[in-house]
Symmetry: C2
DNA sequence: TAGCGCATGTAATATGTTACATGATTTC
DNA sequence: GAAATCATGTAACATATTACATGCGCTA
């Protein structure tokens, strides 16, 4: 996932690996806060794949590698953004996409979020079925984690619902 | 984390790798649903470390390996359970512990959850500070992911608070 | 006899962290 | 002149997934 987040940052402007880390701390740390040990190898990979280019410069006596995104990089990024969200893959993945949804036409963003909400509703139904099955055999802690799961998904679906409404209004 | 979940299941009774997978589907799938590709290697590892023992049997013509937990395995499991929860390590990790909190004296469980709630409150404060910093430069989607983070932690902390009250009552 | 459920396992791959190594500039 | 910040990078490790390979027993 980190490669897409990096591409997303590079959509705005050219950055060094260090810059990317700083931006993460101040913007995405809430759902994604990669270490240098994953940022630098990811940049290498992206360069080898021809999605970005590095320019080596010396600024104030400091050696730097400034990365810029290519057209192909932009395409790969938008393609990732347009893939439907899979809420099963941790909510961090979803937030990573929503974070960059400004790059998508509003109608597409709306459609993706509507789909997501439907999927989560189905999942809630499944968990509620599971609950009736196991509530007699599970202890209070065990069943509580299931209740947490249900309540959590209800919170998430409520939040996305409100977000969607705001989005439609403007 | 999977090794502790496996130890937790084995606290109740002896199980095969296949059994463990089935139990996960029907109880923890909501926050942990490991594949066979991680269950079997984990069982091997636990056996090599002397925390569990395998007994090879043939039942209804089917070859099986039934695993039982050792005293050392129980100690390692309880030790893991008694470590304070770190809410930074995904909420799955927290649910995994709460799931097995029935193995802990009630007062300890309460203390751990109280600590957790305090930590999350601090994190919420940090995110709110971050919000005032970036709200002028972030776009609607970018800032929304931060709002999600804050709302999400508030939901989580509220849920744990209610859970704690229920726990204290009984 | 085909397919499903039970049952175990491995190899390739993905994805990341932590700790370490290095060295410059800026700030106190 | 010490400490913090800027800046890049690698090696070892952790953790898990996916896909594949194997084979038995039961049921329609």
């Amino acid at each position: 996932m980190i490669k897409f987040v990096i591409l997303g940052f590079l959509m705005h402007k050219e950055l060094t690996g260090y810059d990317i880390k700083q931006i993460m701390i101040h913007s995405t740390s809430n759902f994604m806060n990669a270490s240098f040990g994953s940022i630098y190898p990811a940049l290498d990979r992206l360069e080898k794949d021809g999605l970005i280019t590095a320019t080596k410069i010396i600024e104030k006596g400091k050696y730097k590698k400034v990365y810029a995104i290519h057209e192909t990089g932009k395409e790969v990024f938008i393609q990732w953004l347009e893939e439907p969200m899979d809420f099963m893959k941790s909510y961090e993945d979803i937030l990573a996409k929503i974070f960059f949804y400004g790059h998508l036409p509003k109608e597409k963003a709306i459609r993706h979020i509507e789909h997501l909400i439907e999927d989560i509703h189905k999942k809630i139904e499944n968990l509620e079925k599971l609950e009736t099955k196991i509530k007699d055999i599970a202890d209070r802690f065990e069943i509580s984690t299931l209740y947490f799961g249900i309540d959590h998904l209800k919170f998430v679906v409520g939040w996305y619902g409100r977000f969607l409404n705001d989005l439609k209004k403007i």
